[in-house]
């Protein structure tokens, strides 16, 4: 199975940033925001 090589970042690293690995989550996108206006009483 083909695999890639992870190249080192080719730019100077910023100072004191902590390493971070984040992911996305389907639940945050599994909806449709509706904008409705209450009926005038």
């Amino acid at each position: 199975m083909p695999t890639q090589t992870v190249e080192l970042p080719q730019f100077p690293l910023a100072g004191n940033t902590a390493p971070s690995v984040t992911t996305d989550a389907v639940h945050e996108r599994a909806w449709v925001p509706e904008f409705s206006s209450p009926r005038v009483q």
Partner: protein
């Protein structure tokens, strides 16, 4: 504040909100989404080897060719559903491949598959972004009929179940109103306003009666991606059209941001909303806060609109009123929470203080960035700073034999954003590595810990053992690296 100072203030906030590479810039957000999409096509190719050629061809298309395919609502819905099924190792994962085998992306000429079926073809803001209007669909072949039917099905799935809703075929006046609203938005807010238009692939018109009231507009997450649907009545006044496009385009922008990093760690957390009967999820609070904060800017810019803009588009709204609180809600009796500033102040307090611990680090940065940007427009919006909570240290005893990257490695570097996106082997999920994590990941090449440490210190400087340990822990948790010998 004099006119010039007010204009400078709103222009500055417009630039901040429209240019931030993580949360604002449409171009930067699109780069990350395209990287994710290409990686995802590679994942699908591994699971559907008979379609690998088609998927690889798509993967190698340039951004302008790939973008309309990625943002097509039917294909994007299929892509997200397929990848979710693979990550959960359950469910159908060949839907996108099915559309591609039917020829949906055989021609890469800048037209998305569903747009290709529209007749007449209308692009409402060609000077700003590639987007199309749902006029009518005229499928020719059987695969095209399948696409068209699926788009109708996705839209119908978002309307109320009482059957009162339906699509409206736009007439010339509605189309003109739509374009005029977009032009006004782009003139009023050249960064934050114009910057939502690239996130809108499809605009359609609908009418619907909901339980809570009359539908004004809605936009789609994965169930109807990259699409905005509006009531025609929202287009009769250019200021209302501009504000509605801004509102829904912002939702789509945030969906695109969320594809590249989660914000709410606890999906089920409910938060009471005084102007509504039902509590909202934390995600919904973030979405609403995002829009209300930007509407503060919109309305401030509108108030400061010069005579030329007023002559061309009419007088802007002079009120911060949103709508009445839902009858029966806590705020209904008091008359509170009817304005943008009241609502965004409440939501900001909930997101940053009451429920800030349930956000991811990215979510906390998002809230701080957004509220900090609009604070000059809303006195009192900034909550009292909370004591900084030390991030829980994930102690890991580093393996003396070192680490190697889990196979197969599937990555896409984005050096201009100092990030690398990778796919976790096995049950695939996308992992976004900042530059420090990227460095550690790249150094995990099977050599022992002593070598890893030395090379890391050379790149990151002395005294960085804590960061190395943290990075290794995060990469292990994401299943991107494994100890040597495992």
């Amino acid at each position: 504040m004099d006119t010039e100072s007010h204009a400078d203030l709103t222009a500055g906030i417009d630039l901040t909100l429209g240019s931030d590479p993580r949360f604002g810039s449409a171009e930067a957000i699109e780069v990350r989404n395209l990287a994710r999409y290409r990686l995802g096509l590679g994942v699908l190719a591994r699971h559907h080897p008979h379609a690998a050629d088609r998927l690889e061809r798509l993967c190698k298309a340039d951004d302008a060719e790939l973008r309309p395919v990625m943002y097509d609502p039917v294909l994007r819905n299929a892509f997200e559903n397929d990848l979710t099924a693979l990550e959960r190792q359950a469910g159908e994962n060949g839907t996108l491949v099915g559309y591609l085998e039917g020829g949906a992306a055989d021609v890469l000429d800048g037209l998305g598959p569903c747009e290709r079926l529209s007749h007449p073809r209308v692009r409402p803001w060609p000077g700003h972004a590639v987007s199309w209007v749902w006029t009518d669909l005229e499928p020719g072949s059987e695969p095209e009929r399948v696409l068209a039917a699926r788009l109708e099905e996705l839209m119908a799935g978002t309307l109320s179940k009482n059957g009162s809703g339906g699509r409206v075929r736009p007439d010339a006046g509605m189309l003109a109103g739509l374009s005029r609203g977009a032009e006004l938005l782009a003139e009023l807010l050249p960064n934050a306003g114009a910057g939502v238009l690239p996130h809108i692939s499809l605009t359609g018109l609908v009418r619907d009666e909901l339980a809570d009231g009359v539908l004004n507009s809605f936009s789609g997450g994965d169930p109807l991606p990259s699409a905005v649907l509006l009531a025609p009545e929202r287009l009769t006044d250019p200021w209302m059209a501009a504000e509605t496009l801004f509102h829904e385009g912002l939702h789509l922008k945030l969906f695109d941001v969320l594809r590249t990093g989660s914000m709410a760690a606890d999906p089920d957390q409910l938060i009471p909303i005084p102007w509504r009967l039902r509590s909202w999820t934390l995600s919904r609070v973030l979405f609403a806060m995002h829009v209300y904060a930007h509407l503060l800017l919109f309305r401030a810019a509108a108030v400061g609109a010069g005579p030329d803009l007023r002559a061309r588009y009419g007088e802007p709204p002079a009120t911060d009123f949103v709508d009445q609180a839902t009858p029966g809600s806590q705020a209904a009796g008091s008359g509170e929470y009817t304005t943008t500033v009241e609502r965004v102040t409440y939501l900001a307090g909930q997101a940053s203080q009451a429920y800030g611990g349930m956000l991811t680090a990215g979510g906390r940065r998002f809230v701080d960035w957004l509220i900090g940007a609009v604070a000059p427009l809303a006195p009192g919006i900034l909550p009292e700073p909370l004591p900084v909570q030390a991030r829980p240290r994930t102690e890991v005893e580093l393996e003396v034999r070192g680490y190697r990257q889990a196979q197969p490695v599937q990555v896409c570097p984005i050096p201009e954003q100092r990030e690398l996106v990778a796919v976790t082997p096995g049950a695939p999920s996308f992992q976004w590595l900042n530059e420090q994590a990227w460095l550690i990941y790249a150094l995990c090449d099977g050599r022992d810990l002593s070598s890893l440490r030395d090379r890391y210190h050379q790149a990151a400087g002395p005294g960085t053992d804590d960061r190395l340990g943290l990075g290794v822990a995060e990469l292990l948790a994401a299943r991107l690296i494994v100890p040597v010998g495992s």
